[in-house]
Amino acid sequence: MPSFTQRIQNLQQIGPVVEILLTPSVPYMQSMGINIATIKDRVVKVLAMIDTGATGTVISKGITEKLGINPVGTILINTPSHTDVSCYQFDAQIVFPNNVAIPSIVVTEAPLQGQHIQYLIGRDVLQHSVFIYTGYDNSFTLSFSVHLFPYFLVIIFFCNSNQNPVTFRRYQQTKRLATDAQPPHRFAFLCVLLFALSLRAIPRYACDFERGDV
């Protein structure tokens, strides 16, 4: 599971901030026939804050000029002081520590007041992750998970049916329903098959999380 952990002195005052790298998105680079090695001057390091109060991800004005990308849309935003402000949206790649990368995410450009924060990581990123804020340890962890849950439900259901190995042995011993029961190796095969399927069943967005080249 791709993840990273940050430890920050006085986490309560500073907040869950992390240095990330921004680049033009991977689909952009692929279509333009460029790669990270050829556009090193368009890789920007920014300080980002994880913000559970933000619907989407925000990038400070001016950063996109360094990235050399054009907008891919507009959106209205509401803030504590303004409503229905029209802002540009851009497509960019985020690279977290440990080379945990999101190759393509649409971010909203807005003025961010304050000297240190240039990027807000909103719930559009968090919806695909596990965010653990450990206040007493001054640390936080962000992990990106695969969706295995439905397949394990099926396995649990199967374990509780009368075709699992335990009941199979019981039926063999009592000489009842031996013809109906499934041999244990079939159960093992089913478990392996379901596990393999679960690895293939990662949603499209989660598939986009991959180790970056930066």
Partner: protein
Amino acid sequence: MLETETKTFEDRLPELIKTDVGKFVLIKDDKVVGTYSAIQDALKDGYEKFKGQAFFVRQIVPVQQPLNFANNHLLS
């Protein structure tokens, strides 16, 4: 930038809702280039067709919900 595309989207929204609600529309100038099931497909097609120029991608929904931010770093 993107004023023409935004106006085109607003003008064409009623008919797009009838046929492609939930999909993502790609617009360049006053032309609807296409609709796509995933935003990544719309972006990829936009990059390939317009080679890094600005274009407009938006989900087709009856009511456009604004993004909400509680952080007072924004636009203060």
